[in-house]
Symmetry: C3
């Protein structure tokens, strides 16, 4: 068993879902991962991660709409507004979702698709830590 | 340290909470797990997992009621309705909970109970990936 | 690769956010962790964990306010009220956040800050299971 890790810089176009599945599969192949666990970790508190198939784009639109209603931008109850109306709402959307995901890996492949869930409105560059712990092809 | 994994087929009776604790304990004993981490992973986007003691059944009823109010079935805002009024609400309930859980294992036992959280109304058969990474009895 | 674990008793002052970051860093140094994953696990269903920088205290106040609105204490819909108006709301706030977090460790340090998120109103003593899986300094 081994541990290996890497860091990605993911430039996104602002609020939305950005698929990381292929990027993760490519990295798992590159490090020769066979069976174990992958971890994706977003070390930011206004973006998160979402396990999701790349299925119907309507699902992704509905997810964004739902969060817009659940945690509205510019809510008058918010004290923290330093970076605009999407500042505190982005933090809360991150709290209600996940910044760290363990994804089982079998035969070198992740068990489900994964997206970066960007909560800030404007384009942002995010760090994503990717790591794998388990058995490699050559073990 | 080793990694071992298995897959369960869990047939459920539709929307509700189904305890997996004993199934997990039995599997941990079967593979001779001693100390480490167990992972449960639901590779579906309309069911999830819940850490919970099997305590008061009222707690489980209140959880179901609360989610029925937080993400109502058949919400008129939803675009995605292919599989009925509980289709998109099931996806969103899954987004707001967790599909992958790490549970510490000590002396061969998981640190807390765990349930499958089925969000679709009708009975469904779900895959649950179970794995353990850590030290075995014979290590 | 190794696994090591410990248990903390965290006495808190009731509902609020209590930073565990330094406690985790100290423990990682004590066990000589170098690179791998840390896990924090709260084996209770009315408290949880939050990844957060110790930034603006307004952010923490807004998080508490938001959860007070999202899951109000003493909601008339709740059946389970054994331990008062903050009993079921505490369970639901725990369901909507996380009780188990994997945090990547590099050069002996955790990738982001972490807080105990206490949902009960009165001061409580909580168990927090901490563990590390990965490569130690002497490996």
């Amino acid at each position: 068993m081994r541990h290996c890790s890497h860091e990605w810089q993911v430039n996104n176009g602002g609020r939305g879902l950005y698929e990381l599945t292929q990027k993760l599969q490519d990295w798992l192949r590159e490090v020769d991962a066979r069976v174990g666990w992958a971890n994706l970790f977003v070390p930011h508190t206004s973006a998160s991660l979402l396990l999701q198939e790349n299925a119907d784009p309507d699902v992704r639109a509905d997810i964004l709409d739902y969060f817009a209603r659940l945690v509205p931008d510019g809510d008058h109850g918010f004290r923290h507004r330093n970076e605009g109306p999407d500042d505190m709402s982005a933090h809360l959307r991150s709290v209600l979702t996940q910044n760290s995901l363990i994804i089982p890996v079998r035969e070198g492949r992740a068990a489900l698709g994964v997206f970066l869930f960007e909560h800030r409105v404007r384009p942002v560059s995010r760090r994503v830590l990717v790591s794998f712990q388990g058995v490699m092809e050559e073990d």
